[in-house]
């Protein structure tokens, strides 16, 4: 320790000490002030950096937000497209209105981004679909729309900014309403209403567009359903008419069949009843003409010969009627077998040659050497005799009869042509009817049964018969027969 040695020392030393302390404190203060200034500067820089970082943070958050909103928008659009695709897939084949409206369920409304929905019939405001809409809410909407629904005739979509939606929203206490008509064939069928977005946000443009598309799509579906229903109804009506007509035809056919059967039975019975006395009459007349009971006066003989001739005609008629009746009733057994048609034609021609010669007719046979066909020989012979007899009757003296047989497309076509008076065109449709006779042939004897019998015979062979004729020039009857190929030997 320094001890003071003099009064000066006693004063000087503390003064020096004090000065030193003051100087030290001054230097310390300066140093501290410098440090504070440096710290202030650092703090300023730090704050500046923090502010800069905060600014960067704002940029990051903003960019992130922008990106998210953009992603949300893209995702939202994709979701809506998927939603529309699913709705279309679920309803594209729906052809029933009720089934179509079932598609508007809670899932669909939620996918659309809403909580509540109503589909009302435009005419009577009957509830077709209700999703999370309470009874009082639905009634309130119906009451409101009963006065205002005409607006849908001019507005395709009503949203929150529309006065009607605003009034309805406030009276229901429901936010965010969208309403649109569902039109089909220029007519409003339903009113579709959705309300309250799922996330509570306001209705976006995309949601409005999607809702409008759905209403248009539902309208298109309704139009398709109407078209389908109309087509179905038309088809049903046609089917009903067709069935009625078929029933009538079947009934008529049965009646005709019954009448025909009755007629056949009647003819068959009558013919049988007639044939027995006719045979007796024929026998006695023949005996009388042959003068087996004694000579007859010439006058009586002449009358008897006329009786005999008419009895013969009557027998022919009765036989023809019996044949037709037998064929019609199916009692005639058709014995189909291969036989030579050319030989049959020759034999038939020969058989009738005396009658032809008596009328000085020219007879020609145009046929190959031989041709085997499937036929019932006896029946076809009968048909040929009838046709040639017919030709004989209607061909004038020195006329011509041609029997022809040709092969054509695997068939034999047999024809009998004459150079007779011909048949008028108007008589053609009834030519094969029983007892029908043309007015041109009224003065020529005949029963009107021959051609009918021929037609029946050809029909039983399941073949075709046709006729070509020209008045004053002649007639040709043709029928077909199936060729029976000879086995290769």
């Amino acid at each position: 320790m320094i001890k003071p040695t003099s009064p000066i020392d006693q004063f000087f030393i503390p003064a020096m000490f004090l000065m030193g302390t003051v100087s030290f404190l001054a230097l310390y203060l300066v140093a501290k002030l410098k440090q504070i200034s440096s710290l202030k500067s650092t703090l300023g820089e730090f704050e500046k950096t923090v502010e800069e970082l905060d600014h960067q943070a704002r940029l990051i958050v903003k960019s992130d937000m922008e990106l998210k909103l953009y992603q949300e928008e893209v995702e939202d659009k994709l979701n809506k497209l998927t939603f529309l695709k699913n709705l279309i897939l679920a309803s594209v084949n729906t052809m029933d209105k009720e089934e179509l409206l079932i598609q508007i369920n809670e899932e669909l409304i939620n996918d659309l981004g809403f909580k509540k929905a109503l589909v009302l019939d435009y005419e009577n405001l009957e509830t077709k679909v209700s999703v999370n809409s309470s009874g009082p809410e639905t009634e309130q909407i119906k009451n409101f729309l009963s006065q205002k629904k005409k607006i849908f005739e001019t507005s395709p979509l009503l949203s929150g900014d529309n006065d009607i939606c605003k009034i309805l929203s406030s009276s229901l206490g429901t936010k965010n309403i969208l309403m649109a008509p569902v039109r089909a064939r220029e007519k409003i069928h339903e009113i579709f209403l959705v309300a309250e977005t799922l996330n509570g946000s306001e209705i976006k443009l995309g949601e409005k567009a999607t809702f409008t598309i759905i209403c248009m799509y539902l309208g298109q579906c309704l139009e398709n359903i109407k078209m389908f229903e109309d087509n179905f109804a038309e088809k049903e009506e046609l089917k009903r008419k067709n069935d009625d007509r078929t029933r009538e035809l079947v009934k008529s056919l049965r009646e005709i069949e019954e009448i025909s059967k009755a007629k056949t039975n009647f003819i068959s019975s009558v013919s049988h009843e007639l044939r027995t006395p006719l045979t007796s009459v024929k026998g006695f007349s023949a005996l009388l003409i042959a003068e087996k009971f004694g000579a007859l006066p010439p006058e009586a003989k002449l009358r008897l010969e006329k009786i005999d001739s008419n009895v013969n005609k009557l027998v022919d008629m009765v036989n023809a009627l019996l044949d037709i009746a037998r064929i019609e009733s199916g009692k005639t057994e058709v014995k189909m077998a291969p036989a030579d048609i050319v030989k049959l034609l020759k034999d038939t021609g020969d058989f009738l040659s005396p009658q032809m010669q008596a009328k000085e007719l020219v007879f020609e046979l145009q046929a190959p050497e031989s041709l085997m066909v499937f036929m019932d020989k006896a029946l076809i012979e009968r048909a040929l005799i009838n046709l040639i007899n017919n030709a004989l009757k209607f061909t004038p003296v020195k006329g011509k009869i041609i029997l022809k047989c040709v092969k054509q497309a695997g068939q034999a076509i047999i024809s009998v042509s004459d150079t007779g008076c011909g048949i008028p065109q108007e008589d053609m449709p009834k030519l094969f009817d029983e007892f029908y006779r043309s007015h041109l042939t009224q003065n020529i004897q005949g029963t009107g049964l021959g051609l009918s019998l021929v037609k029946h015979i050809i029909d039983t062979h399941k073949e075709k018969i046709s006729v070509e004729s020209e008045v004053g020039k002649g007639t040709t009857f043709s029928f077909t027969l199936k060729i029976a190929e000879r086995p290769n030997l």
Partner: protein, 374 residues
């Protein structure tokens, strides 16, 4: 090593899906399937699931949870059935379904089931339906279960189906489903990945005992979003995107994520959980590249542990933020843990589990909750 956990997925329609998962499990455990937990999307009828599983697998325990979307390995399943079979003789599982939403009813119902769980190493996984108030439900569960249970779970705010039915042993019913258990080691891990951004702010006014923040930095709370979003704020508010930027709140030196659900007309913010006044907070953002960088580190504790069943409770908001990266996140988890863990899970609106630091059960709607069952 004997197999304890088997998982199966089917995306077929109707009964076919349930038959397929049953057969897949039966192929591994032909004799017995002790405990079955099945998750299914709303496309399936729980009664059909119940009957088919009872008929084919005849399990001692059956629990069925309906969820709007599922996870199987690294896939997000929008329509399907995922089943998990636990064949561990030591394990004991029990279903408790609570139909009344009040906190006291929950407490009472849970207490009745506690006599089967005397020890300390118990666990419960709860599924809270939309019509339950999650705060009351979790409060009821906390009070009744105390510290003896490792409590975690998932819940729904938004009603995604007209009715949500669960399978409880031999019945099908609605309500809060609790799968309680012992004999298994269950640990929960949270993966957040949200990064703090910008200057910290102070929560200056909170409505008493509620989850509403009135003021931040002595201004209406909503202004914090206005500050960062500027001209994008209107679109943000209109689209109710608050949950995508949660707050990182620091209370007593510990940080936790608080989701903002919505705003009120006076500019207050409604949060998922209660927040204290005068604590510091930051706005956070989930940035996929940064998340994937951190993911490996976050999965480290699980990578080095014994394998088993990994049940993921993923959140819809996370899916919404991550978009396509949500699948990438699952792929990364599967890449790191797929070899040792059977990975299944569900999507929910929020999850809850005890905080690693405090042990307090907290609700969050942003993170991924991984529950490792061994």
């Amino acid at each position: 090593m004997e197999k304890i956990f088997v998982t199966a997925l089917s995306e077929k329609t109707g009964e076919e899906a349930i038959k397929e998962v049953s057969l897949k499990i039966k192929a591994v455990f032909p004799r017995a399937a002790k405990h079955i937990i099945v998750f299914y999307t709303p496309h399936y009828q729980p009664l059909t699931i119940l009957k088919t599983i009872q008929y084919t697998l005849k399990p001692d325990f059956l629990s069925g949870v309906e969820a709007p979307a599922l996870i199987f390995e690294d896939n997000i399943i929008e329509k399907g059935v995922v089943a998990c079979c636990i064949n561990n003789e030591k394990a004991f599982l029990k279903n408790i379904l609570i139909k009344n939403a009040s906190s006291s009813d929950i407490e009472l119902a849970m207490r009745k089931g506690l006599h089967d769980f005397p020890g300390e190493k118990n666990f419960v996984f709860s599924f809270i339906p939309p019509h339950f108030n999650y705060s009351q439900a979790i409060s009821g569960l906390k009070i009744s279960l105390g510290k003896n249970f490792n409590m975690s779970g998932a819940g729904y705010v938004k009603k995604y189906a007209p009715r949500t039915f669960h399978i409880i042993d031999k019945t099908v019913d609605e309500g809060l489903l609790n799968i309680m258990g012992r004999g298994l080691d269950v640990e929960s891990y949270k993966i957040s990945g949200f990064m703090p951004l910008g200057k910290p702010f102070t929560i200056t006014k909170v409505l008493a005992k509620s989850n509403v923040i009135s003021e931040i930095n002595n201004q209406p709370a909503i202004n914090i979003y206005k500050k960062y979003l500027e001209e994008k704020f209107d679109a943000f508010k209109k689209n109710r995107l608050f949950p995508i930027y949660p707050f990182r709140v620091i209370e007593e030196g510990k940080a936790r994520l608080v989701s903002v659900l919505d705003s009120l007309e006076d500019g207050s913010l409604v949060c998922m959980e209660e927040v204290k006044e005068n604590c510091q907070a930051n706005l956070t953002i989930l940035h996929p590249p940064s998340l994937f960088e951190k993911l490996e580190y976050e999965l480290e504790p699980l990578k080095n542990s014994t394998g088993g069943l990994l049940f993921i409770t993923n959140s819809f908001i996370r899916k919404k933020i991550l978009k396509d990266s949500a699948q990438e996140e699952l792929r990364l988890i599967n890449k790191h843990l797929g070899a040792s863990f059977k990975i299944i899970g569900i999507y929910s609106d929020y999850c809850f589990c005890p905080s690693y630091e405090t042990g307090e059960v907290g609700i969050e709607n942003g993170p991924l909750l991984l529950s490792a069952w061994r």
